[in-house]
Symmetry: C2
Subunit: 105 residues, 2 copies
DNA sequence: CCGTGAGTTCAACTATTGTCGAACTGTGCC
DNA sequence: GGCACAGTTCGACAATAGTTGAACTCACGG
């Protein structure tokens, strides 16, 4: 499967609190979410903190974030543009995303 | 080991965001935290939603919440009084606890 | 002081997650 | 068209997390 396929994202109402918390309960996934805070980013330009990580592992990280409803991952040429689902998350769980991303690290 | 032993709790500064998110990323643990919202509760009176759950399993749930820094668990006679570590969590991660516990379920 | 009650620990097991190589597929550039 | 690039999927394995019964410990009430 290519980089340019349309992957399934949960609808806003299907995003669960548990799913979001789980997705962000891992340091690396949390770091990705924090990177996306300033705006969408191509996956290629993201994740600069470990260039040696195999692509299948990166793909898996993105998958958990995507399936948890935390990020949106859309094809963009041969890349993928990742973005936070801020509107959906803010609507569904007000204050949650900022509380998490603002948190002391 | 009895019900009345002093179990280790992480210091405020040792509580990690990831640990808190992980502890609360499970429906049952989240439900316990929500029950404790109104105030401390003896473990016996808590967890009314599944009386058939083995005690070792309940003990494990409490352990994860305690080690994650979400709850405090102090001996109280032959029970254990559970309470949210609201002061510590609010100090360390402002807004996080309310955002989570207020969230739509 | 003995029995009961509440909760912890241990050990074994199951189940869920994470890691990574290999094979594969659209996309863009020549 | 051909080729390299970015990511996905699959499968196998490692690692972590959840479940539970049994043995144990302390506190309370007779």
């Amino acid at each position: 499967m290519p980089a340019a396929i349309d992957l399934p994202h949960p609808d806003r109402d299907d995003i669960t609190l548990e799913g979001v918390l789980f997705a962000l309960s891992d340091s690396e996934r949390l770091a990705i979410a924090r990177e996306l805070r300033v705006g969408p980013l191509d996956a290629v330009n993201c994740v600069p903190w470990d260039p040696s990580m195999p692509k299948s592992t990166k793909s898996h990280l993105m998958k958990v974030l995507r399936e948890g409803g935390v990020i949106r991952s859309v094809p963009n040429g041969r890349n993928r543009t990742l973005s936070l689902r801020r509107d959906d998350l803010d609507a569904r769980f007000p204050g949650l995303l900022d509380a998490i991303l603002d948190a002391d690290h």
